[in-house]
Structure formats: structure tokens, C-alpha cells
Symmetry: C2
Subunit: 158 residues, 2 copies
Amino acid sequence: MLRLSKKSDYALMAMTHLAMRPDDGASSSAREIAESYDIPLELLAKVLQRLVRVRLLVSVQGTRGGYRLGRSATAITVADVIQAVDGPVTMTACSEDDHTCDQFSKCSIRDPLWKIKARILDALTTVTVAEMAADNDTPVPVAAPTVSRMVFVAPMGE
Amino acid sequence: MLRLSKKSDYALMAMTHLAMRPDDGASSSAREIAESYDIPLELLAKVLQRLVRVRLLVSVQGTRGGYRLGRSATAITVADVIQAVDGPVTMTACSEDDHTCDQFSKCSIRDPLWKIKARILDALTTVTVAEMAADNDTPVPVAAPTVSRMVFVAPMGE
DNA sequence: CCGATCTCCGACTTGCATTGTCCGATATCT
DNA sequence: AGATATCGGACAATGCAAGTCGGAGATCGG
């Protein structure tokens, strides 16, 4: 399928969200982002932590804290985000250094696949977070205040 | 990770194997291919069946049966093989027609990711099985001296 | 015509990775 | 001090890939 994980999805959403913020000085909390896109808060927080660890994000603790981009959105590629969250991009089970693959010696498709991987990686590195934010039509997904969100929902749970 | 499944791995190995065969008229059995690369026979057979269903392979039943390429190796792309085995290539949970995704309405990264997917798909479609066979250095992975199988080729070709 | 070999096909079990949740610790602002 | 943030590890559950099993049908050799 070649599908990327939900963590990468969330990471890209969050990064794009931050890139779309008008003022770069302010910070968005994990809760704000999570509620904007209906993402489980704790899971998003975990993802954001990994982005902080590789300096793609900067965190501000305490009340009114949150996250800011670690550097300009034009200098952050999609590959950066994916690799920070999901590890290195590898198509095959055997990477260059790690040969934990039963068919390593007999594998006939390793070299050709690496060339394809290089092209995919190129596709991911040429697209920046800034471009993703620009390509997005939906203006700014603002999270509804938690209280007023419940107003229109039926008064009985289920 | 973006890793492709083992089924796709096996499918590409088998297709490349068949493309490397000197004589195109003969056919290789699933067992021969499985033993050459230490692939579980039953699993490989399943993969090959799917390739037959989409006409990428032609099966010959019976005692000296096996598989042949459905068309010229130069006309079979890597994307053909992967899609036949693993289904359509989709990066996101929500494809064009199927919106089974909780965040569909609020998703901000859908359109940008589709462009990337197009580039990846392009990388997969421009590489043919014939090219993979050519890029391969290991001459012909013959393997597994399993006793009775050693009856070299028998003097009767067909 | 019979047995052997091989493809074919569906259903089943297992194993593992992703996903999601919970809890406690720390830091900062009001 | 209390509320609200981030941080970090440990834990459960769901889902899907990976591999297994058994049987039916077709073809060839003798």
C-alpha cells in the first residue's frame, strides 16, 4: 500500500497548522491542534515530542505554553517530518547497514529498489511544509471552544 | 517507514527472476522460485496467483507447469506489480472515492499529499521489470540443492 | 487409465506493529 | 497554591500482514 502511518499524518497536520499561523511568535498548544483536527490529544503530544527532540519544533512549557516551528517553514521538508516520526524511509527490510533479512545474499531486487527509494526520497525532500500550507485551501481550522461545541449536540449522550 | 510489504517483495523477486530467464518459452514453477530465494512456497504461490489474475503472469498447469510473464518484461512496471499484489498505492487513509477518515472535512494535508503521491507513482511506473533484471548483478540465483530436484533440466525441452 | 506433480483457491491461525490510553513528573503563569 | 502546559515511560487493544493448512482441478508420464 505504501501508506504512511497516522503519526506521520498527525505530524504533518500539526506542522502545516503551525506554518499557517499568521504570527510566528505565538505558540499553539497541543490541545488546540488536537481539537482542531479531532486527533487524540495524548497521541498528538507524543508525536510533537519527537518533533521537538529533532529540533523541528520548539516547546514552551507552562501555562499559555505550546509549540513553535524550530526553523522557517520553507526550510522544513516533508521528509524531515516523516523521518523524525517514523524513522528512516526504507522500502526494503534490509537497509544499507542492517542486513536482518533472510534473503540478503540471494536478493536480486535490492539495488534496483534503492534507486526507486532515492527517487521517492527526492519527492519528499523537495516539498516543504511551507508549500503544504500554501497549497491548502481551508483557511485556518480553528478549534471550537470546548464548551460551545456541545451546544448543538443532543442533550442526551447516546 | 513507507516500507512495502513482503508480498510485494516476493512478487518483484519472482517477476525479476522470470525476466532474467534466458529462454522465454519455458516456465518456472513456484517451487523453483521459492527455493531460489528461500521464500515460503505457499505464500509465494498466493502472490503469483494474484499476478496471474491481472494477466501479468500466465500459468501453465500440470506436471512441468509453471509461470511465464504475461507480456514483455519491458512493458511491466514496478507499479503494476505492487498494485496487483498490495492494492492501489495510497498514502493517506482517505482516497479519492473512499472517505473513511474521521478528519476528512478538516484535513489540511490531503491535496498536497496527493501531489507527492503522484510523484511517487511516477517513480514506480518509469521503472520496468526488465530494467530491474538488468540492474541485477547476481547472475542467476540457483539455489537449494534439494536432492531429487537436481535432475538437471532433462534432455527434453519443449 | 492411473498415479504423480503442479497450479489453484479459500479459510484459518499466529505474530507483530501501530494505535491509542493512562499515569506521574516537571515547569510556568495567574 | 492552583491551573494548565509539556514531558516521558509503561501499558492495553485493535488491525493487518505473514505464514499455514487442506482440498480441488488440470496436465503429463508411464
